[in-house]
C-alpha cells in the first residue's frame, strides 16, 4: 500500500499534496491538529506536500469558499477530489484513510 503511494510520489513534481488547515487562533485543538498533521505528512508524504494554515480570525471571509463549519478542518485541495477532515487529527489511521493516503483495510 505504501508502495503504491510511493509510486505516485515518484511521479509527482514534489508538491502533489496541497493541504489546507483552517484554524481560529491558537487554540489547543488547532495546535494539536497542526502538530498531528505535520507528523503524518512527514511520515507519509515527505517532500511532496505543502500545508497552508488559514486563520479564520484573521480572514473570516475565507471560510465561505471551502464551506468550513467545524474547526479545525483539514482540506485536501490536491490531489482532487477535495476532501475534508475535521477534528484535531488525533486518529492517524482515520486521517490516512480520509486523505486517501491509505485505503480501508
Amino acid at each position: 500500500m505504501i508502495a503504491a503511494e510511493g509510486k505516485r510520489v515518484h511521479n509527482g513534481d514534489g508538491e502533489q499534496w496541497i493541504l489546507r488547515l483552517y484554524v481560529a487562533g491558537q487554540t489547543p485543538k488547532c495546535l494539536t491538529a497542526f502538530a498531528n498533521l505535520k507528523k503524518i505528512c512527514e511520515e507519509h508524504l515527505a517532500g511532496q506536500y505543502r500545508i497552508e494554515i488559514i486563520d479564520l480570525l484573521v480572514h473570516p471571509e475565507l471560510a465561505k469558499g471551502d464551506q468550513i463549519l467545524a474547526l479545525p478542518t483539514l482540506v485536501r485541495k490536491l490531489p482532487e477530489p477535495v476532501k475534508k477532515i475535521i477534528g484535531d487529527l488525533s486518529n492517524t489511521e482515520k486521517v490516512l484513510v480520509g486523505l486517501d493516503i491509505r485505503p480501508f483495510k
Binding site: 468550513i68 467545524a70 488525533s90
Partner: protein, 588 residues
C-alpha cells in the same frame, strides 16, 4: 407583598421586552408587536408549511420597511435558488444584497465529504455568521435550518453544546433571529431545538380537509409577553405571508346610533321605523328562492341612492346575472356600477381556501372603501372549509367590517326540508346584530313568501310575520292573515279577505236591521202613549162631570133643607156653619 408588587410594577414600567416588528400582516398583532428583540425565535412545522417564507419575509420586511439589514444563513437552498423563489413574490434579493441590506450565506454540508477525527467545534460557523452580521451591521438573522448540522456531523454531544453556544452567540450579538426547525414525530422539532430556543416558539402547520388546504400559525410560547394563543389561519400569496388574527380585533369596536334604511319602506317600519344600525351586521336567511338576493339588492339600491359605496361579494351568480335578475323586480343596479358606487366581486367558493377568500375580501374592502358590504351567500363558503372555520372566518370578517364602520349584509341559504329554519348553515347567527328570516309558507297548493324579524339588537322591532311579493317595483310587504288553520297567504289570504268583506257587510246589515227595529218599537210605544193619554182625558172629563153633578145635588139638598126649616120655622138655624159642617162630615 409590597416587594413583589413593586417588582411587578418595575417589570411593566421598566425595561419591558422590546419587540422587533416582523412587518408581516397579522403576526405583529397576535404577538403584541413582533418577535422578542435581540433574542432567537424558533419557527417550526412540517415540510412546506412556510417556515422559510416566514423567516425570509421577516428579513426582507426588516430590510425594506424598518431599515434593519439581515443575514439569511441557508443550510438547504442555494442563494440563486432563493433569489429565484422570492422574485416570484416580488422581492429583489440580488438588489438587496448589492445594497448591503441583505446577506445570503449558504452553508453546504455533505456528510460523505467529511471525515471526523478527534476533537472539533463549530467555531467556523460562528466566524462566518459573525462576519456576515458585521459586514452589513445586521439586526436580523435567519438560520434555515440549523438542523441540517445534525445530518452533517455525527458527534451529537458536540453539536448540542455548539448549538447552545450558537444561541448564546446570537443573543450576545444582539440580533433578532429566526431559527427554523422541521417538525418531529412527537416533538416540535426533529432534533429538539426547542430546548435551546426558549424565548419564543411559533408553530406552523398545514392541514388539508376536503381537498382544500388551510395553513395555521400558533404561538406556543412567548417568554415575557402575552400573546394570542389560538391557531390563526395564514396564507401565502403574491404579497407574501399574512396571518389573520381572529380575536385580536377584540370586541371594542364603536357602536353607532345612526340608522340606515333597508331600502324597503315597510320593512323600515317593522324595524322601529328607521331601518338597521349603521355598522351592524345583518343576516338574511331563508330557503332557496325566498328572495334573499332581492332583499340584498334593495339594500344596495337604497345605499347607492344615498351616495354610499357598496361592495357586493357574490359567490353564486355573476355580476351580469344579478343585474339582469334584479332588473326584473325593478331595481337597476347597473346605474350604480357605472357611477362607480357599486362593485361586484364574483368568485366561486371552491376556487381557493377560506383564508384566501378572507384576504380577498379584506383587499377588496381596503381598495374600494365601501359603506356597505354584501356577502351573498355566506353559506356557500361552507364548500370551501369546515363550518367551524367558516364561522371563525366570518367572525373575523364581521369584526373587521365593524371596526371599519361598514354595514355587513349577509345572506344565508338554509337547506329546505330540514325543518330547522332558525338555524344558519354556518352557525353565525350569534354574530349578527339583525336577523331576518325569509320563509316559504306552504298551503292550499301554493308557496308564498313570508318575512319575519327574528332579532334586531337594539331595535324595537315588529313581531309580525309579513307576507311579501316580488313585484316589478320591488318587494312589497303585506299583512299576513292568521286563521284557525294556520297562516293564510296568497289566494287563501285573498279568499279570506273576501270572506272578511262579506262578513263585515253582513254585520253592517244586521246593525241596520236592529236600528230599524228599534225605530219601529219606539213608534209603537209612542202610539200606545197617545192612546193612553186619550183614554185618560176621556176618563178625566167623565169624572169631572160626575163631580160637578154631585156638587149640584149637594146644593139642591142644602137648599131644600133650608127651605124646609124656614117653612117649619122651628128654630134659628145658622145658615152657613151648620150647612158647612154637615157637608164636611158627609164628605169625610
Amino acid at each position: 407583598m409590597g416587594v413583589t408588587g413593586r417588582a411587578k410594577r418595575g417589570k411593566t414600567e421598566g425595561p419591558i421586552l422590546k419587540k422587533c416588528s416582523t412587518g408581516i400582516k397579522g403576526l405583529d398583532e397576535i404577538t403584541g408587536g413582533g418577535l422578542p428583540q435581540g433574542r432567537p425565535t424558533l419557527v417550526c412545522g412540517g415540510t412546506g408549511c412556510g417556515k422559510t417564507l416566514l423567516a425570509m419575509e421577516f428579513l426582507l420586511r426588516g430590510a425594506l420597511n424598518y431599515g434593519e439589514p439581515g443575514v439569511f444563513m441557508s443550510f438547504e437552498e442555494k442563494p440563486d435558488e432563493l433569489v429565484q423563489n422570492y422574485a416570484s413574490l416580488g422581492f429583489d434579493l440580488e438588489g438587496l444584497v448589492a445594497q448591503h441590506r441583505l446577506v445570503l450565506e449558504y452553508v453546504y454540508i455533505e456528510r460523505s465529504e467529511i471525515e471526523e477525527t478527534g476533537e472539533y467545534d463549530l467555531e467556523a460557523l460562528f466566524i462566518r455568521l459573525g462576519h456576515a452580521i458585521d459586514s452589513i451591521g445586521a439586526k436580523r438573522v435567519v438560520l434555515d435550518t440549523v438542523e441540517a448540522l445534525f445530518s452533517g456531523f455525527s458527534n451529537e454531544s458536540i453539536l448540542r453544546a455548539e448549538l447552545r453556544r450558537l444561541f448564546r452567540f446570537l443573543k450576545s450579538k444582539g440580533v433578532t433571529a429566526i431559527i427554523t426547525g422541521e417538525q418531529g414525530e412527537r416533538t416540535l422539532t426533529r432534533y429538539g431545538l426547542e430546548e435551546y430556543v426558549a424565548d419564543c416558539v411559533i408553530f406552523l402547520n398545514h392541514t388539508v380537509s376536503d381537498q382544500i388546504a388551510t395553513r395555521h400559525l400558533r404561538i406556543i410560547k412567548y417568554r415575557g409577553s402575552s400573546h394570542g394563543t389560538n391557531e390563526y389561519p395564514f396564507l401565502i400569496d403574491q404579497q407574501g405571508f399574512s396571518v389573520m388574527p381572529i380575536t385580536s380585533l377584540g370586541l371594542d369596536h364603536p357602536a353607532f346610533t345612526e340608522r340606515i334604511s333597508t331600502g324597503i319602506p315597510r320593512l323600515d317600519t317593522m324595524l322601529g321605523g328607521e331601518g338597521y344600525f349603521r355598522g351592524s351586521s345583518i343576516l338574511v336567511s331563508g330557503t332557496a328562492g325566498t328572495g334573499k338576493s332581492s332583499m340584498a339588492a334593495h339594500f344596495v339600491d337604497g345605499a347607492c341612492s344615498r351616495g354610499e359605496r357598496c361592495l357586493y361579494f357574490a359567490f353564486e351568480e355573476s355580476q351580469n346575472q344579478i343585474i339582469r335578475n334584479m332588473r326584473s323586480i325593478g331595481i337597476d343596479l347597473e346605474q350604480w356600477v357605472k357611477k362607480g358606487l357599486l362593485r361586484f366581486h364574483n368568485t366561486r367558493p371552491s376556487l381557493y381556501g377560506l383564508e384566501m377568500h378572507l384576504v380577498a375580501l379584506h383587499k377588496e374592502v381596503e381598495r374600494f372603501d365601501p359603506a356597505v358590504v354584501v356577502v351573498d351567500p355566506i353559506s356557500n363558503l361552507v364548500t370551501a372549509a369546515a363550518p367551524k372555520e367558516v364561522k371563525a372566518m366570518l367572525s373575523r370578517l364581521i369584526d373587521y367590517l365593524k371596526l371599519k364602520r361598514i354595514t355587513a349584509f349577509c345572506t344565508d341559504l338554509t337547506s329546505a326540508g330540514g325543518g330547522i329554519l332558525e338555524q344558519t348553515e354556518v352557525g353565525v347567527s350569534s354574530l349578527m346584530d339583525a336577523w331576518l328570516l325569509l320563509q316559504n309558507i306552504e298551503g292550499s297548493g301554493e308557496r308564498n313568501r313570508g318575512l319575519y324579524i327574528l332579532k334586531a339588537r337594539g331595535i324595537a322591532h315588529s313581531n309580525q310575520i309579513r307576507e311579501f311579493f316580488l313585484t316589478d317595483r320591488g318587494i312589497a310587504l303585506r299583512d299576513v292573515y292568521v286563521g284557525p288553520g294556520g297562516v293564510l297567504t296568497g289566494t287563501a289570504r285573498i279568499a279570506q279577505e273576501a270572506r272578511d268583506a262579506a262578513a263585515s257587510t253582513l254585520h253592517r246589515q244586521e246593525i241596520e236591521r236592529k236600528q230599524r227595529e228599534l225605530e219601529r218599537k219606539k213608534k209603537t210605544v209612542d202610539a200606545q202613549i197617545i192612546a193612553l193619554k186619550t183614554e185618560y182625558e176621556l176618563e178625566r172629563e167623565e169624572l169631572q162631570q160626575a163631580v160637578a153633578q154631585e156638587r149640584l145635588r149637594d146644593d139642591v139638598v142644602m137648599k131644600e133643607s133650608m127651605e124646609m126649616a124656614r117653612a117649619r120655622q122651628a128654630d134659628a138655624v145658622p145658615t152657613t156653619a151648620g150647612g158647612k159642617q154637615g157637608r164636611g162630615g158627609r164628605k169625610r
